[in-house]
Symmetry: C2
Subunit: 318 residues, 2 copies
C-alpha cells in the first residue's frame, strides 16, 4: 500500500522505510532534516517506490495521490541538553511537531480514510512512580519543567490521536517507544549508547554520570521495527497505546562493561557528577504484556549482538 511517513530520514523512521519497502509498500517520506539526515536514506533515493520530500510537517502538508496509511514519526527525540539535536535545544520545534504535526497528519489520514500510527514515547511516563510501566499508568510529568517540551507534546499528540479515533472513528494506533539503539543513530546524539560507542572507538574512557546504578532498557532497532510493523498491520481494536521496548533492564555501569567486551579492548571509565535534572527518570522499563497479547511480539536481539552491530556501523562512520 501507499504510505505517508513523517520523520522518515530519522534513525527509526529510515529503518522503518527500509522495512516498508521490503514488504512491498510504496513510501513517501516528509522530513525537514532538522534532526534527521539524508545519509540515512541515501540508499533509497533512486528507488521508484520511494519519494523524499523535504518539508516541515508542522506547517500544512501538501500531498499528491491517495494514502492507505499515515505514520507520524517526526520529532526531535534526544533529551540531551548538550547536543544541538536534543529537544531541550529545540523546544518550540518539538512542541510544534507534536501538536501541529500530529494535527496535520491526522487531517490527511481522515481525508484519505487511512490508517494512522503515532510514535509516542516512554517519556509520557515522565519520572515514573510505578515500575515497570504499564500502558494504563498515567505518568509523572512536570508540565512546566525543561523536559515538558517533549513529554507534554507527546502526551498531547496521544490525546488528539485518541480524540480523532473516538470522534471520527479513525483507525489509529499509538506506539510508546522506549530507548532504542542501532546503526544510523547520530554519533552526536548525546545519549549513552552512542556516547559509549564513540568513546570506546576513539580510546577514550567511557563517561558515567553518578554512580552508574541508574538503569535503562535498550531495544535494538530491528526489534523495534518489527514491533512497529506488527502494530501497523494488526487488525482489530488496537487503538490504545502499546509499549514497544525491551524489558531487560541494565545499569549504566553494566552497559559500560558490555561495551568493553564488544569492543575487545580494555575499557576505562570516568565518573562525573550526576547531571540529572529534577525530572530526569532514574529508572524506566516497559511492561510489554500488551504487545505480547495484541501483536505476539517481544524483542529477540541480545544487548551484546545489538551493540556489536551498532559498533560496526559507528566504526564505518567515525
Amino acid at each position: 500500500m501507499r504510505i505517508l511517513l513523517t520523520g522518515g530520514a530519522g534513525f527509526i523512521g529510515s529503518h522503518f522505510s527500509d522495512r516498508l519497502l521490503a514488504e512491498g509498500h510504496q513510501v513517501v517520506v516528509y522530513d525537514n532534516l532538522l534532526t534527521g539526515s539524508l545519509d540515512n536514506i541515501a540508499h533509497l533515493l533512486d528507488r521508484r517506490d520511494f519519494t523524499f520530500i523535504e518539508h516541515d510537517v508542522s506547517e500544512s502538508i501538501p500531498v499528491e495521490g491517495q494514502f492507505k496509511a499515515v505514520l507520524h514519526f517526526a520529532s526531535p527525540a534526544s533529551p540531551n541538553p548538550n547536543s544541538p539535536f536534543g529537544y531541550p535545544q529545540l523546544p518550540i520545534q518539538t512542541l510544534k511537531v507534536g501538536a501541529m504535526g500530529t494535527f496535520n497528519t491526522l487531517r490527511i489520514a481522515r481525508a484519505h480514510e487511512a490508517r494512522f500510527l503515532l510514535t509516542s514515547t516512554s517519556e509520557v511516563y515522565g519520572d515514573p512512580l510505578e515500575h515497570p510501566q504499564r500502558e494504563d499508568y498515567w505518568g509523572n510529568v512536570d508540565p512546566v519543567g525543561l523536559r515538558s517540551v517533549y513529554d507534554e507534546a507527546k502526551r498531547f499528540a496521544e490525546a488528539i490521536t485518541m480524540a480523532h479515533h473516538r470522534k471520527h472513528d479513525l483507525d489509529t494506533r499509538i506506539a510508546r517507544i522506549f530507548n532504542t539503539y542501532g546503526p544510523r543513530m547520530r554519533l552526536d546524539d548525546g545519549r549513552v549508547v552512542p556516547n559509549f560507542l564513540c568513546q570506546a572507538l576513539t580510546n577514550q574512557p567511557l563517561t558515567i554520570y553518578g554512580d552508574g546504578s541508574q538503569t535503562r532498557s535498550f531495544c535494538f532497532i530491528d526489534d523495534m521495527v518489527e514491533g512497529l510493523y506488527r502494530l501497523l498491520m494488526a487488525e482489530g481494536d488496537v487503538h490504545l497505546p502499546v509499549n514497544i521496548g525491551n524489558p531487560v533492564e541494565v545499569s549504566i555501569a553494566a552497559l559500560a562493561e558490555i561495551v568493553g567486551q564488544v569492543s575487545g579492548q580494555a575499557i576505562q571509565t570516568q565518573t562525573l557528577p550526576d547531571q540529572r535534572g529534577p525530572s530526569d527518570p532514574q529508572r524506566r522499563r516497559p511492561d510489554i504484556s500488551r504487545a505480547k497479547a495484541w501483536l505476539d511480539w517481544e524483542p529477540k536481539v541480545t544487548l551484546e549482538t545489538g551493540l556489536r552491530l551498532t559498533m560496526d556501523d559507528f566504526k564505518a562512520r567515525l
Copy 2:
C-alpha cells in the same frame, strides 16, 4: 494599556473585560462564540474602548495596532458530557484552542513584546494524589482518557508558554483556575452550581450524584477576577503557574443545603448513581500559598454571598 483578550465573551473572560475597562485599559476581544455568548458583553459593545471580533483564535489571528498584553482565556471549560457546551462534546476544538490558540497568541505577544497571560486550569492536576494541590505537584492525568482533550491541551499550553518564556524571554504568566461560579455562567453549563440554582429556581429537587460526599472548592467570580488581575499586573519573577481558587472545601451535599438556605425555600434532593468517569476527580482544593505570597491575594466572598448574587442573576435570566 491596549490588551488583546481571547475568550472575552465567555463567563470569566467577560467579567475580566469589565475589570480591564474599569481600570482604564482598552480591550480587544476575540471570541468565536462556540461556548461564549454575546449576551455577556452586550453592555460593552457600544464603548469606544472595547472592540469585539468574532474569530476562532485556533486559526491565524489578524491584528491591527499594537498590544501591551495578550491574554489567552479562550477554551470550552465545562467537563459535563451531557452539555452541548462541555468539552467532551467539543474534543477537537478544545485540543486546538489549547495548542494552536496558545501558539497563535504567543506569537502576537512575542511580535509586540507584550506581556502574556494564560488561563490554565486545576484540571492539569487530573485526579490528584496529593491534597490540597500545590503548583509543584505534577498531577495525575490519563493522556488518552475522555477528559484528556481538555487536561492535556492545558498542560500542553503551559509547556509552550514556559518554553516561550525560557527560549524567548517572553514575560509570561500562568493562572491555574479552580472551580469558579457567578453571574453569566451558562444556565445549561452542566456543572453543579448552575444545575442546583436552576433546579432550585424551578422548584425541582436538586440532583446529587452518589452520596454527595465528594467535595469541591468554589471561587466567586469577583475573587477570581481580582486574582487574575493581580497576576497580570504583578512585577518580577511570576512566571511559574499560580493557583487561583478558593481553598474552602465543601461537599456537594453541603452545597445543596446552602443553595436551599439562599433560595429561602424548602429544598428537596434527589440521589442518582455516581456518574463519575474513571478519571473524574473525587476531591480538588487549591493550595494558594503562592498567590498569597506573590500577589497578596486570597478570596473574600463567602459561598452564601456568592450564591445569592448568582441566584439573582439566574432568576433574571430564567
